[in-house]
Structure formats: structure tokens, C-alpha cells
């Protein structure tokens, strides 16, 4: 029996359990331990809007702009969390560049930049000459870039471990390898049925299980269209400090950064797939070749590095926005699933979810994030 059970031991679940423990609540953290998304994070701190999405889906612009203020705050929360944990998680807000290759795309970025400035972001445009000065590692193909000062990177291995140790020190029960198959609501409690046949009784439950949240909400009759999206990631061997910024491309799928220990992490949304009887997230050859060749196109010295490892991280998508708050069908069950850039948003989303659960002010208007929107869509 626990007062609050948090399902999902990723960045959101760990931060949430921590906030609830700090608020003096009896909280238990449950994690399936099944190649969970969090254990494969890339550690980018994203703030600016994705130029490519704005061009491809103009109808989503209002949603994206509405969520935009979350991101600088999320980066700030990471900084506070790092200080609070007292651990070096190699957090660097060293700026993020969204590069482009043509004058036309530069103009589109410049429009985005003006809009983001109006919305309070620390962004500026850098033409070819200015870019050479701040990012000499970029190749001749790069025409210009938008620089966002608040963006950056951190080492997710160190951050996740620091959080785990912090939870341990606070005495929060953390069950790894405990997979919840379904939730049953009875009058006096919620019954969490494990795949191993076990039952945990909880007063309230928070679904922080990323893409796995949908099925758990579904067991209570609540529609929650979370989809697991396996994405290709790469890491190289270490090299001397070369790439200061988080680098993205305005029009192509590429994100790269150099960790403090010198390795370059390369991703950007290239697809992977679930394979085999265990649904193991598995990389695809086409993504590996496409992603890495693009990386050296943008940052030519990368060609001299060797790829050490590729893996598939698991992103969660629903409608591009966060899902926060109680299920209309069962208000004792809350949801805490970040929208785009889940690791960046993790600590902030956890804090907002904790506030909603505790009846406090989440600091942001959360109406548009309510899980009820999917029930309305389903019935309408």
C-alpha cells in the first residue's frame, strides 16, 4: 500500500517522485526496466522551435508557440536541479545553433527568430561570417544559423544516476523490473496489477511511463494516444574539444553535440524499429548512413571520428503537446507525459504534475495539456 504510486522511472518519474517525497508524501516509484526510454536519452537541452515543423505543419504553429515558454523555463529548471543535486551532470548552456544551407531557409529562420524574440527567447541570427567566428567547426555548406543562448546539453547518464542516488537517500521505494499490466479502480484504492501477478494498492497514481502510459490509461477506459517512436542515436569516440554548441539543422534531421568527455552524440529523429520477440529497439542501416553522412556534411571534421555505438532511443508522441493532469474517467490517476523534447521538459513537467496532484499552482496554464482533450476528441 502506498499513498502515491508513480509508474515510470524515467526523467519525469524520478523528478516527480523526488518532488512528492520533498513535499512529505508517501510515494513509490515503479519501473518496468524494459529498455525504458529514459535510459537511452541523448541529453540535449532544446529551447527554440523546430523550423522544419513550422514549415511542414503551419496549422500547428499556435500550439508550438503556446508551448514555447515552457522550454526556457525547463532549461532553467535543469540548472536548478543540477545545483540542488550537488552533482556534476556536465550541464552546459553553451547555446544552440539551428543551421541552414540556403538564403531562402535563412530568411525563414530570421522570421522565426523575430517571433521567438517577441515571445521572450534569447535568440539571434548569425550570417556566414558571424557564424565562422563563433562556430569554426561548421562546414562550407552552412549558410547561416539562428543561435539560441539558452540551449545546451548535459550528460544524461550522470543526471539519471544522480537522481537515482538522491531518491535512494530520501528513502523513496524504487522498484526496477516491476511492470504494471493494468490498473483497476475500486472504491477505496487503485489496484496496480503487475505482469508477475502481484498487486500494489495505491491511493493515487501518476502515469509517467512515456508511451506506455496510453495502455495503462486504456485499462481504465481513458483514451490516451501515446505512441512509442524509436529513434536512431549514435556516439563516437572522444576527441579534443571541438563542438561548443548543440547543433541542429533547420531543414534536415540532425542534432549533434559534444559531451564534456569528448564524445560526439549524433541524432535528430532518424527512425529505428522494434524487433524480435522482446520488441527490442533496433537500429536501421539506412538511418545510420543517412544520419552520420549528414553529420559530417554539417561538421566536416567529424568524418575523422569513428562511430562507437548506435542505439535506438524511444520518444513518445501524442499530439505534440504535454499531457498533464487527472484522467476525467478516474481523477485519482494523473498523467505526466512531456510533449516534444521529453528529456529537456522532464524536470519541469514533473514539477507541474506534482503541483497539480498536490493542488498547488503549476506556474503555467495547464488547461490545454489536460488528458480530457483526448476524451473530447474520442466522443466528438
Amino acid at each position: 500500500m502506498t499513498d502515491i504510486a508513480v509508474i515510470g522511472g524515467g526523467i519525469v518519474g524520478m523528478c516527480l517522485a523526488r518532488e512528492l517525497a520533498m513535499a512529505g508524501r508517501d510515494v513509490t516509484l515503479l519501473d518496468s526496466g524494459h529498455h525504458a526510454g529514459t535510459t537511452a536519452n541523448a541529453g540535449s537541452l532544446h529551447v527554440q522551435m523546430q523550423s522544419r515543423f513550422l514549415r511542414m505543419y503551419p496549422e500547428l504553429v499556435p500550439n508550438l508557440e503556446a508551448s514555447l515558454p515552457l522550454y526556457p523555463e525547463a532549461a532553467r529548471r535543469w540548472r536548478l536541479l543540477a545545483e540542488d543535486l550537488g552533482a556534476d551532470i556536465e550541464l552546459r548552456q553553451s547555446g544552440g545553433l539551428m543551421v541552414c544551407e540556403t538564403a531562402e531557409h535563412y530568411e525563414f529562420l530570421a522570421q522565426k527568430c523575430r517571433r521567438e524574440q517577441a515571445l521572450g527567447l534569447q535568440v539571434e541570427m548569425l550570417d556566414r561570417a558571424a557564424l565562422r567566428r563563433v562556430a569554426p567547426y561548421l562546414g562550407d555548406a552552412v549558410h547561416g544559423a539562428e543561435l539560441c543562448a539558452e540551449e545546451g546539453k548535459l550528460n544524461p547518464l550522470l543526471a539519471n544516476e544522480a537522481l537515482r542516488r538522491d531518491l535512494q537517500a530520501r528513502g523513496v521505494p524504487y522498484h526496477i523490473g516491476h511492470r504494471i499490466a493494468r490498473i483497476e479502480a475500486v472504491r477505496e484504492a487503485l489496484l496496480l496489477h503487475g505482469t508477475d501477478g502481484s498487486v500494489i494498492r495505491a491511493g493515487r497514481v501518476v502515469l509517467a511511463a512515456g508511451a506506455g502510459s496510453g495502455a495503462l490509461a486504456g485499462s481504465l477506459g481513458a483514451p490516451l494516444p501515446t505512441v512509442a517512436e524509436p529513434l536512431h542515436m549514435n556516439i563516437t569516440e572522444a576527441t579534443a574539444p571541438l563542438i561548443l554548441h548543440l547543433v541542429q539543422h533547420a531543414e534536415r534531421m540532425i542534432t549533434l553535440k559534444q559531451l564534456a568527455a569528448g564524445q560526439v552524440v549524433i541524432g535528430g529523429g532518424w527512425p529505428a524499429r522494434f524487433a524480435g520477440p522482446q520488441d527490442f529497439p533496433t537500429v536501421e542501416a539506412a538511418s545510420l548512413v543517412g544520419n552520420l553522412s549528414l553529420a559530417q556534411h554539417i561538421v566536416p571534421p567529424i568524418g575523422g571520428l569513428r562511430l562507437l555505438r548506435s542505439w535506438a532511443g524511444v520518444n513518445t508522441t501524442a499530439d505534440g503537446q504535454c499531457i498533464l493532469g487527472p484522467l476525467p474517467q478516474e481523477p485519482r490517476v494523473h498523467v505526466a507525459v512531456p510533449g516534444d523534447a521529453g528529456y529537456t521538459l522532464g524536470p519541469l513537467v514533473a514539477s507541474m504534475a506534482a503541483a497539480l496532484l498536490l493542488g498547488r499552482d503549476p506556474g503555467f496554464a495547464t488547461d490545454r495539456f489536460t488528458p480530457a482533450r483526448f476524451s473530447r476528441a474520442a466522443s466528438g
Partner: protein, 533 residues
């Protein structure tokens, strides 16, 4: 012919590896590590451990053991972290389809005994076969071919040369210097050859990827000059380079005895062979003699020759530690307290199958004696249709067994590809004999694998990321988690060797039958090699 090593001219013999040329010149310390200078040298000698990476002609992270020494080459010790050459122009982005493609009926990966036998059997049954091998000259670790211009050293090398010639004559296409690093279901392989990446799309494939020495951490095991027995054997058999003038050999199994004798015959002073197994087991000896009288006699002959060379065989003894003395020599101490001052220490504590490609593609494996092995049917087919695995890459069986398994797989693949192939009954019978011999042989040499028994708290378990035993124990004690969780807590297994050497050690320490999740690439691949020159 000379190369330039940091301003010093070093003699090069044509065909020699860079590691051999440097060893011959007494250069053992090849790179720094995160912990500072005075780091690492040649260890596995076969392209797996990645410890011998150097800056060659301005390109960092180049393996000395797999790179040919060339006159005029500019070679430098590799600092940490190694800076990259300046480059401002990248090539245009590529798609998978832009890579050159090969579509043989049968692809054989690995040109050792198993791979050559598979290729030959399938080719003789009329199959179009492409064999790829990572070394400059195929032959694998048993047949270890000599560099051009050297006559075969003995029957072992000439048998390999004959098998290679038979493959060529039969019409097997052979690509040397080709490293397969990607394996994707159902049957797509990515390989790099001379700075160009190839797509290999066969209808069937035989993986004959061999084995590497098991890692045995002890204080000093990462010092330059401490290498595997196999690395030293390659230096001598392939390049006629001695690993040092005075040599100590320590480990378990017959290869150590063979290499000690080869080096002694080559002029090295072998100060001792420390053998972990403690005594002759008459029953096992008798079984070995019955299974393969010739091989058994050869083995017993080695003991006699060892005595004739005056090389002491220390039975039931382990190497306890190695330190570097003030004058640059190595001081090795056995667990009986005896000390030996030498130039090189060779370690061979058995082998582990090379399973990275098979695991990456998704073939089912099972743990046996702490090591992962692919599951196969009687035709050597893995859990995946059309994918066969043979030889020491499936568990140590020795070269004769690998030859038999290769032939069985080659014939089975030919049949699956619609050819009529001769019966495999005779070769199956020989496989039974070879396996009986191997069983008896390892009964003779039976000794528990020491694992981390010799390691001290500050001894590195993960060579690449420099993770100590104390750090690993702390991470295990820090709370529940599987082997992947301990990897993420410590970085153990995240380095250049991709966890090959430390995974079995960590699993044993945790008491679990598990390994790190399979990852592509199976070997580090240079990003510019993906894109062609």
C-alpha cells in the same frame, strides 16, 4: 625503408604491420589515456581491443596492429583526447542505396579455418561465394599467414596457404582487408574496405568470426609490453618480429606452450611458462590420445621440447602482477612469489567467441560457462533462416572442428540455395572425433577461469573507459539494476572495444547470465569511411 615515428627513423620490412615495426624498434608505448601519459600498447594484436590506436599520417584512432607499415609514414603516439584534422568541406549527405552493393549468393565472413572450409564446400557445389576477411591476408588466427616474401614457417601455415589457394582456384571471390561491422535483419551487412563502405546483400551467410583471448585483469595488465599470447604469435608468425628479447608466458591451454616454443626457436629467451592447470590427468590424457593420437603426441612432444630449451613450466601458477621497473623493463611476479624481469609478458587464459555481428542481427544466443554462444541446429544454421555460424565464434572447438563445421555449413547452404551437394556424413563423423579431442584436451588443461580473483580494487576492469574494480563493486552495491544499469553507472563497456573484454567479467561479478545489449557497429567505423573517399 623507414617510417617516421616522432622524428625518429624506424626500419620497415615490406608487409609488416605498424605494430610489428614499432615493437621491433622497441617502441611499446603507443598512446595516452584519460589518466595521462604512459598509457597503452599492443594488447590483442587482432583489431578487437582498440588499445593500440595511434595518429598515422595525421589521422588519429588508427590501429597499429591492423595498419601496414609503409615507408615515409608519419606516426605519432596518440594524446588524449586526440584532436581531429582540420576540414571545412564535407561530402554531400548519402543514402544507404548510394553505397556500392555486392549481392553474392553466399557471403562468408571471416577467412579462418571455418570460413575457408565453408566457402570451399559451397563453391564446389556450384554456389557463387564471396568471402571477406579483415586482415591483409586471410587465414585467421590458426593459420596466421606470413607477410609476402616469407616462406611458410611450418605445416600449420602451409595448410592454411593450401586451403586459401584451393578456395581461389575453385572460384571463391575473396576480399581481404574488409571489416564487416554492421549486420541487419534479414541479411544485410555493412563492411569497410580501404576507406569505402560496401553493402553486402547475400541470399545466405556463414559467419566465421573466430574468437579472442579472454581478458584477465591483474595489477599491471594494461602496461605496454603486456599482451595476449595471440598478439605475440601474430608478431612472430606473420611478421617475424619478437615481442621482446626476454619473455614470460602465463595462462591456460596449449597455445601458450606452442607460442613459447615458437618464440624460443626464434631466438627469444622464454624465462618461464606459468600454466594455471595443476597436473597431468592420466584419464584425460588417455582419452585425448584415443581421440586424436597424432595431435596428442604433438602436444606431448611440446612438453619435451620445452624441457630441451630449458624453459621452466610452472604448473598450477598464475601471474599475480606486472610492474614497470626504473629502466623500462617489466617485472612480473607469479603467485608463488617468483619474479621475472622481462621485456614482454604474454597472457592467454582461454578464448571467448566473437558474437557481435550475430547478436546485432538478432540471432538467438545462450550463456554457457559465462560466455554467450549462438544457438545452432545440426546444419550450423542459427535461429535465423539462411544465417549459419561456424568455428570458434560459436564456442571454442579448435581448427579441425572449425574446418568440419565450415564444411557442414557450406554444404547445407548450397542445398538451401538449390544445389545438390554431397553427403555431409563423413565430415560429421570427423566433427564428433574433433569435439571428443577438444573435450579431452581441456580436461587435461582443466583450470577454473580466474576472472577477477587477481584484480585489486584499483585494477582496471574496463580497459577503455578505465573503470576500476572498486568502482564496479560500488556501482553494484549502489542499488538494484541489471548489467546495462551498471554499465550506465560506471561507463564500464562504453569504450572502443565496445564491452567485448569487460562484459563477461562484469556479468560474473554480478552473478548474472547476461551481457550488454547488442549494438551496431560491431567494430568502430570511421565516419569518413561510410562516405567513400
Amino acid at each position: 625503408m623507414t617510417l617516421d615515428f616522432e622524428g625518429r627513423a624506424i626500419a620497415v620490412r615490406p608487409g609488416q604491420s605498424l605494430a610489428a615495426a614499432l615493437t621491433e624498434a622497441g617502441v611499446l608505448d603507443l598512446r595516452d589515456t584519460r589518466r595521462g601519459p604512459g598509457g597503452r600498447g599492443l594488447y590483442c594484436g587482432m583489431g578487437a581491443c582498440q588499445d593500440c590506436v595511434m595518429v598515422v599520417d595525421g589521422v588519429p584512432n588508427t590501429r597499429a596492429c591492423m595498419t601496414k607499415a609503409v615507408s615515409g609514414q608519419q606516426v605519432m603516439r596518440q594524446p588524449h583526447p586526440a584532436p581531429l584534422p582540420q576540414r571545412t568541406t564535407g561530402t554531400r549527405p548519402l543514402a544507404l542505396e548510394d553505397l556500392p552493393e555486392e549481392t553474392p549468393e553466399l557471403l562468408v565472413v571471416g577467412g579462418g579455418a571455418g570460413g575457408l572450409a565453408a566457402a570451399l564446400a559451397a563453391r564446389r557445389a556450384g554456389v557463387e561465394v564471396l568471402l571477406v576477411d579483415e586482415r591483409g591476408i586471410p587465414g585467421g588466427q590458426y593459420y596466421k599467414q606470413a607477410m609476402p616474401g616469407l616462406a611458410p614457417m611450418d605445416a600449420q601455415q602451409s595448410e592454411g596457404a593450401a586451403l586459401l589457394a584451393a578456395c581461389r582456384e575453385a572460384g571463391v571471390r575473396i576480399l581481404d582487408g574488409t571489416e564487416v561491422w554492421g549486420a541487419f535483419a534479414p541479411l544485410l551487412f555493412l563492411a569497410t574496405r580501404h576507406g569505402q563502405t560496401l553493402r553486402l546483400r547475400p541470399r545466405a551467410a556463414v559467419l566465421a568470426t573466430g574468437a579472442q583471448e579472454r581478458a584477465l585483469p591483474f595489477p599491471g595488465w594494461t602496461l605496454p609490453g603486456v599482451m595476449t599470447t595471440g598478439a605475440a604469435q601474430t608478431l612472430w608468425r606473420s611478421y617475424r618480429t619478437l615481442p621482446g628479447r626476454r619473455v614470460l608466458v602465463a595462462g591456460n591451454g596449449p597455445l601458450n606452450l606452442q607460442v613459447a616454443l615458437e618464440l624460443a626457436a626464434g631466438g627469444a629467451q622464454v624465462v618461464a611458462v606459468a600454466e594455471a592447470s595443476s597436473g597431468l590427468r592420466p584419464l584425460a590424457l588417455a582419452r585425448m590420445l584415443r581421440a586424436a593420437p597424432k595431435l596428442a603426441a604433438k602436444g606431448l612432444g611440446m612438453l619435451v621440447t620445452l624441457r630441451r630449451h630449458g624453459i621452466p613450466l610452472r604448473r598450477g601458477r598464475l601471474l599475480r602482477s606486472v610492474t614497470r621497473t626504473a629502466d623500462g623493463a617489466l617485472l612480473a611476479e607469479l603467485d608463488d612469489g617468483t619474479r621475472h624481469t622481462v621485456d614482454a609478458v604474454l597472457c592467454g587464459y582461454g578464448f571467448q567467441p566473437e558474437t557481435a555481428l550475430l547478436r546485432a542481427i538478432g540471432a538467438t544466443h545462450a550463456m554457457q560457462d559465462g560466455l554467450l554462444r549462438p544457438q545452432r541446429d545440426a546444419q550450423m544454421q542459427t535461429s535465423m533462416e539462411g544465417l549459419y555460424a561456424v568455428g570458434d565464434g560459436c564456442g571454442l572447438g579448435g581448427a579441425p572442428a572449425a574446418l568440419a563445421e565450415g564444411e557442414i555449413a557450406g554444404l547445407a547452404a548450397a542445398r538451401a540455395l538449390g544445389r545438390s551437394a554431397p553427403s555431409d556424413a563423413p565430415v560429421r563423423a570427423s566433427l564428433v572425433r574433433h569435439r571428443a579431442f577438444q573435450d579431452a584436451l581441456w580436461q587435461v588443461f582443466r583450470a577454473p577461469f580466474p576472472g577477477l580473483v587477481l584484480a585489486q580494487p584499483e585494477t582496471l576492469v574496463c580497459r577503455c573507459e578505465e573503470v576500476t574494480l572498486a568502482q564496479i563493486d560500488a556501482a553494484i552495491a549502489a542499488g538494484p539494476g541489471d548489467i546495462g544499469e551498471v554499465k550506465r553507472r560506471t561507463r564500464c563497456g562504453m569504450g572502443r572495444c565496445q564491452g567485448r573484454y569487460c562484459a563477461p567479467l562484469l556479468a560474473a561479478r554480478m552473478g548474472v547470465d547476461d551481457s550488454f545489449a547488442p549494438r551496431v557497429p560491431a567494430r568502430p567505423v570511421r565516419i569518413s569511411d561510410l562516405l567513400g573517399s
